[in-house]
């Protein structure tokens, strides 16, 4: 509880700051104020002592205590300041920030994409590793290397070489708080207002937005069942860089085959453009070996490879990494230092041990088995409950799939589902221009067990039924499309 003298102190002080007591004015004698307030005299004396010590009051020897001359007193009823004018960065960043309405948390059937199953995470192991590092810990008394904890950088270099055929030395690996931070840092290092940047359409809106905020003129290129249509890349030499998700295209889940990969790299080499390869879901592959990374195929030194551990471990663990061409390592690391000094060290240490001691490999195996089962269960439920009205392009990676449902409007469907306790995540915001007709959904399956999937999809089917316009499209009229092109071509560079 606050001592009584502090309340007296607060009262006098606020009267001084409000101007109710003016500079030079004599304050009541301690005894008089004590009587007035019904407190002990030394309570008031103590409050005055603090106010004297802090300069609110001045004592003139033998003549009492006065309010100090503190310059112009602040206005008595202070206006709340108008919100300050925002920078061009902010105006660009928030131009389309009419944020996608997020469904409330805690719904029983939440198809949030990219959510892993928390029960599958070996939390006891993680806790033990944290404890070990806390006990040692002298390194924790000072900032770490802004590029990241060296043993983690080494473990990641080994991992991406083995798993993604990346070609890199540990010094090229820089730790960030997830791929979003890497995109943001590259944006500020490389983008000048007006620079052309190629993005996938549909594609990952927050990466696009981070780049557009630095003034990039976005050049959308359409996506089909094999990812970015490399034949539609702009003339070589015009774009500064290209942001792609080749292993698991966001949101379609398409994997880019080797031939397009090589075409993209060749285009980048001719253009002198940098390729940002966001490989967030590469680890969670359910069939076959993945085509190797662009970084590993590249012979021009033009690729930045972005990876993350958040997706496979737990999303609010903010640890990702960039594998950079040698010439970008120093500027990127300096930018990271100015941005936030470096990523949390204790969890970097735990993660380095988690990788080095084989826990990560074991966890991945478990996640792959679980992911495959759940993807198959979801696809099966969709077929049974929605039949031909649902089109889900095949995908062999990740924790969600994209589904299109004909004859129903996206927002209407999301709202109808919400009423039934089902949280849906529409694809619409992933398009640069207008989205195609019908509803597109990102359906996450990582965290949903078989019973929840069955019940959730049944309710989804009910929501489809009530929000359908007219009669369902005749059977067979909407075979799974091989492109995800918007109705009208995306407006190039319009944001």
């Amino acid at each position: 509880m606050e001592p009584i003298y502090r309340r007296v102190y607060e009262q006098v002080r606020s009267q001084i700051l409000d101007g109710r007591l003016s500079p030079g004015q004599r304050v009541p004698a301690t005894r008089a104020l004590a009587d007035e307030l019904g407190v002990a005299r030394n309570t008031v004396a103590r409050a005055y002592e603090e106010l004297l010590a802090e300069g609110y009051l001045v004592g003139r020897r033998g003549s009492g205590t006065y309010v100090a001359a503190l310059g112009t007193p602040p206005a008595q009823e202070p206006p709340v300041a108008a919100a300050p004018a925002l920078s061009a960065w902010a105006r660009r960043a928030f131009a389309d920030a009419e944020a996608a309405r997020e469904p409330p948390g805690g719904l029983p059937y939440d198809f949030r994409p990219g959510t892993p199953d928390w029960d599958a995470f070996p939390r006891t192991v993680w806790w033990r590793l944290l404890g070990r590092r806390l006990r040692q810990g002298a390194q924790l008394s000072r900032y770490g290397d802004p590029g990241g904890y060296p043993p983690l950088r080494e473990a990641i270099a080994r991992h991406v070489a083995a798993a993604r055929a990346a070609v890199c030395r540990p010094e090229q690996v820089v730790i960030v708080n997830g791929t979003q931070q890497a995109v943001d840092l590259l944006g500020r290092l490389l983008v000048e207002p007006g620079d052309e940047v190629v993005v996938e359409d549909p594609g990952y809106a927050d990466a696009r937005r981070a780049l557009a905020a630095y003034g990039a003129r976005l050049r959308p290129v359409r996506v089909d069942g094999e990812g970015l249509r490399t034949a539609e890349l702009p003339e070589a030499g015009r774009a500064r860089f290209v942001y792609v998700t080749p292993t698991h295209q966001f949101p379609t889940g398409a994997a880019m085959p080797l031939e397009r990969r090589l075409a993209l790299l060749e285009w980048a080499r001719r253009s002198g453009a940098l390729v940002l390869e966001d490989d967030a879901y590469a680890e969670l592959r359910y069939a076959g070996r993945p085509v190797e990374s662009l970084q590993g195929l590249d012979r021009g030194g033009n690729v930045v490879y972005l990876g993350t551990f958040s997706t496979v471990l737990f999303p609010p663990l903010r640890i990702g990494y960039a594998v950079l061409p040698p010439g970008l390592v120093a500027p990127f690391t300096r930018a990271k230092w100015l941005a936030d000094r470096g990523t949390d060290l204790l969890e970097q240490q735990a993660l380095a041990d988690f990788l080095a001691e084989g826990h990560f490999a074991r966890h991945l195996r478990r996640m792959r088995r679980l992911g495959r089962e759940r993807r198959d269960a979801l696809l099966d439920a969709l077929r049974r409950h929605l039949g031909d009205r649902v089109h889900a392009p095949p995908t062999d990676t990740g924790l969600y799939l994209m589904a299109r449902i004909d004859g129903v409007e996206e927002r209407a469907l999301v709202d109808a589902a919400l009423e039934r306790g089902v949280a849906l995540y529409p694809v619409g915001p992933s398009y640069v221009g207008p989205a195609p007709e019908g509803a597109g959904l990102l359906l996450g399956f990582g965290a949903l067990g078989p019973a929840a999937v069955e019940e959730g999809v049944q309710r989804l089917a009910e929501a489809v039924a009530v929000s359908s316009r007219g009669t369902p499209a005749p059977l067979g009229s909407t075979a799974a499309t091989s492109t995800f092109a918007p109705r009208r071509p995306g407006r190039a560079g319009s944001r």
Copy 2:
């Protein structure tokens, strides 16, 4: 170990990518290649299968296996790409980035400022709190609120109200990865190239650099024993904002008295300028109560208060916070989301519990006792070993103090100390313009026990002796100065 077929795979693949095997060329039959390499035939067959599956090879039924047409093959001897051109942000950020040479780690007498004593940190408590949250944990399966973990924001709002007389609601508290990130986010939200920003001289170089990188024209204002000389603030209305460290001025350690605080707020109100109050060391106070924060005194809604837990707990724990005027909360939170999605959640949860359950208050009491003892021991050792040649302005907060040593050049002293196993941190880089004559040092005392301080200062005195130019200044000629003004006035807006 890598299976043998993978080596065969790699070899063929790299020949295809290098162009040594051309598109359309027939590859050797499995038996022939197996004989040539001295491996089993089915080893080669397996390698070919993968290469077929991935599209490097094509099989023509009955006629063997061929290299696929993959478009233009990459150049055989790829040039390392030239480092890409950097943005204006990068050119400004790194203009003076001839990074201060950091002393190597592991020196026996390391006076690194801002390093707390790791042994004083209640790591078992921290570990227990982490474990509790890991066991509960369903929240850890998805991103948290980008503004921060709500119970932590509430705990901080209560804490800054009680400890710093701040006036705020929990919604105004936004969690960041330390104060550096808050400065960076405010820079990008508010600064347009050419905007004038007032900074302390000497002052905190990395905050200055973060703002200058967004194009701020820096307007240095000198500092004396009472912090920023408010009488020297530019004409009202010219500056966009001012960055100050009023409780423990960096690097001088000066505390700004009430009168100057009110003058600064009045100037900000008249200017429509925002005040960035960086209060990193406010918690570690060794004598009396601190003057309350500018945020708490402000009646104009013009102050952003920045605090951090890294300093008092452990620096690579990246959790700090900004207390924002209501109008800035939404843009700041959106900028944080685009920058990195949000601060690590598990440690936010542990910290919320650490605050709510009284561990933080206990830890602060221990740190204050320890800090006071160590500061006094350091001052005592400096007086005994260096006498009148050292001038350390009084400071009652923080984990370091600034000392000036006459008649010796800063870099020479740092180098001489290094040879003696003593790591020193010069003040020079804190000045916007040229630093004053003599050597200025930031001497951290948080992590050094009595024996280390005694021996370290003795070695420092030896280093002073060997690096002194001519004879020491006569006694009394350099009484502790009340200003820390540079020899020449700082060049206004020169970076």
